[in-house]
């Protein structure tokens, strides 16, 4: 039986107010700032559990720390190669035909991630 705890409400509330696909660590920092008694393990646990339940989204970005999103409707993400900033990519109209699945496999989830440069980093050189 799932229990409705203050900790879950606080994590979900604060995540909803955070815009930029925060890392688990960033969510913990924000929640801990507002409710100093909460534990890091609790925040990590709630984020993982709630993403499995579908109440929030675990962002699919390879080779990055865990990030979460209060938006759970289908959309993709783009991350700046330079500063790591993450933005939403809206799904366009029309069908998607990306590939051929191997025989015998079933598809339950598909993730698409992009990498590039954001507006702010476009004019800067890599060494800066």
């Amino acid at each position: 039986m799932q229990r409705n705890t203050a900790q879950k409400r606080r994590v979900l509330d604060i995540l909803t107010q955070m815009a930029n696909h925060p890392s688990a660590e960033a969510v913990y920092a924000a929640v801990h700032g507002a409710y100093p008694s909460i534990s890091k393990a609790t925040v990590y646990r709630i984020l993982k559990d709630e993403s499995v339940c579908g109440n929030l989204l675990a962002v699919d970005i390879p080779r990055d720390v865990n990030r979460y999103d209060h938006r759970t409707d289908p959309h993709w993400h783009i991350r700046c190669r330079r500063c790591g900033k993450v933005a939403d990519v809206e799904i366009g109209a029309g069908s998607i035909n990306v590939g051929t699945i191997p025989d015998g496999w079933s598809v339950e989830r598909m993730g698409i991630s992009f990498e590039g440069l954001c507006r702010e980093c476009a004019g800067l050189t890599d060494g800066e």
Copy 2:
């Protein structure tokens, strides 16, 4: 200046012979089995460096250890949710229209990953 070392040749040779998108750890185990004097740090270093150079591919699978692929031509991957096995997804004919990129951003790389069940796991229950 890039140097042509025996360690690089051995890592690339053995990766080419490994079929199933091995993890860095698995590549190290294979290379170390054939050449016991090679260091783990060297294998990890070569895998990362060569993937940046484009001589091999770092597989885009969120929330997984680093995996590498000797195939560098465009294709995607699918991982079995249950056993973790990874297989190739060939890109179908026709154009791909998956989304709208935010204003000001540029796209340098796109990764698509699938999750589901492989043929062998399809008939088994989760608890096994």
